[in-house]
């Protein structure tokens, strides 16, 4: 009855969200009085033994060029086989793009109850109850998993990465050549930018910025803070910014440590996507903007005057 964590990789590196899942999974194993293993598919350049530092005992590494991109069906089959073989009773994913593709399939394949979007450790004394986000971040549900095998997909930035010294054993099981039915023709990644779902700090702009030509104040602050950039729905609908930057109820839901909202009034649909952020700063010239009610810090003022000064102050503090 061990714990198995799916370690998602991109271009040969284990993703940050998966290190959160590893730290979380190691803690779940500790609560259950068992050990945690990791599973990696595809060719990874990182030193897999170092994953022991996150509390993992063994890493099951399936090296194969065909596994460098996620094919939900093939990945499900390999993870299912591995989890059966090692006797895993809890399987953990990050609730990122790969987790959303694989975890539901695996739930069916193993008849294992799935809680997706978990935000806390399971309560084991009450059975196996996992707290998850519902109503797009406006509430939580405590969900009981009733099956013997269980799957949790952990929301990004919900559990702190725990790193210590440690070395994991790496095993490389041999599998038949996978039969890929989804052919990846192209991968287009925005280079040099921090993916929104992994960002700890996000600087976001709204309609108050009046047009795409004024975005430098947002990107300059983001650069000074080492942050990702985001935007509200009207901004992406008007094509001022690319669609993948849209955060909110119908865009991406994020939970960074710091969310800077510039010129965003704070419609309930926008708040739903960002209200799990640990600290929210709102800059708006309208003191009645609803976003101030959801904010931790606020400045009532003209973004075009205030934001460049904040950027300067950040640079000064960081010695940039």
């Amino acid at each position: 009855m061990s714990v198995l964590i799916f370690l998602d990789q991109s271009e040969g590196h284990i993703k940050k969200n998966s290190l959160e899942a590893a730290s979380y999974g190691a803690k779940v194993a500790e609560l259950m009085g068992t050990t945690a293993d990791g599973i990696v598919l595809g060719n990874v350049n990182d030193d897999l033994t170092a994953l022991g530092g996150y509390g993992l005992k063994r890493i099951h590494s399936f090296k194969n060029d065909k596994l460098n991109h996620v094919d939900a069906q093939v990945f499900t089959d390999i993870i299912a086989e591995a989890s059966e073989r090692i006797g895993a009773s809890v399987i953990i994913f990050s609730n990122n793009f790969s987790g959303k593709a694989i975890a539901p399939r695996l739930s069916v394949k193993l008849k294992a109850g799935l809680v997706s979007g978990a935000v806390a450790l399971p309560e084991i004394s009450k059975g196996f109850v996992v707290k998850k986000n519902v109503f797009s971040g406006k509430a939580f549900a405590n969900v009981s998993i009733k099956t013997e095998k269980k799957i949790i997909s952990l929301n990004p930035n919900s559990y702190k990465i725990n790193k210590a010294e440690g070395k994991a054993a790496v095993v490389e099981p041999v599998i038949p050549d996978p039969e890929i039915r989804t052919i990846v023709k192209e991968v287009n990644k925005v280079v040099g930018e921090i993916p929104l779902s992994e960002a700890e700090i996000v600087v976001s702009g709204g309609r108050g910025l009046k047009g795409p030509e004024n975005w430098a104040i947002v990107t300059d602050l983001a650069k000074a803070l080492g942050a990702a950039t985001a935007c509200s729905r009207p901004v992406s609908d008007s094509d001022w910014r690319p669609h993948h930057e849209h955060v909110g109820q119908t865009g991406l839901a994020i939970a960074p440590n710091l969310y800077f909202a510039i010129g965003i009034s704070g419609a309930i649909q926008h708040l739903a996507g960002v209200n799990r952020s640990k600290t929210i700063v709102v800059i708006n010239k309208d003191p009645e903007a609803p976003f101030f009610k959801a904010a931790d810090y606020g400045i009532v003022g003209d973004a075009f005057e205030v934001v460049p000064k904040i950027t300067e102050a950040v640079k000064k503090m960081k010695g940039l």
């Binding site: 793009f97 399939r105 979007g117 519902v134 405590n142 099956t147 803070l225």
Partner: protein, 247 residues
Amino acid sequence: MKILVCISKTPDTTAKIAFTDNNTKFAEAGVQFILNPYDEWYALVRAIELKEADPSIILHLINVGGADADPIIRKALALGGDEAFRVNSDSGDSFFIASQIAEIAKQNNYDLIFTGKETIDYNGSSIGGMVSELLGLPYISLATKFILSGTTATINREIEGGEEVDEVTLPAVVSCQKGMAEQRIPNMRGIMGARTKPLKVTEPVTAETLTSIDSFELPPPKAGVKLIPADQPEELVRLLHEEAKVF
């Protein structure tokens, strides 16, 4: 070609979220219900566009829900689609719901099954993946673009920090999000026509539930905003550094 679109009834995006019965039930009183935006704006509209390009396509809709979902299903039919199924059950977890959809799908041999990327109430993002596994079909999640050429689909899907372009031979299951299509408003002709389109109600097949919701809770209220004068941005930066400790 036959397409199935899975649609769900959810509270309106502006609905007040509250709970009753000792925090075990969503408080429905006074809440307006809508067609889940991802199902409507992206999955359904893209399927309608495919049918407009090729009128020989048969387009079915499916909902797993009680009779109170019928107005939502009629609205979906007003946008487009030939007929709808409602599996008469308003309980069960995502595995139960996926099992009902898979059962209808098995009877009708669809080439393509669309879902929204998630519902805005339970945010599980699970139905598409579960249905695909129950049917043994490829699953392309979080699609932003879908191009059909014969029985081959070229699909853009979101991945961390970008997009992947996939090619898959149908049948397949696809979950849809922003980019797939643009929201439409049903016209009067559609609304009138929807009244006479078949809405077949069937009873659920036996299926397990793997999870259950014990209780709900609301997030603790915010302590209140700390306002900083507009001429003291350094003070904001100091507070973020020393008090909030975010950088």
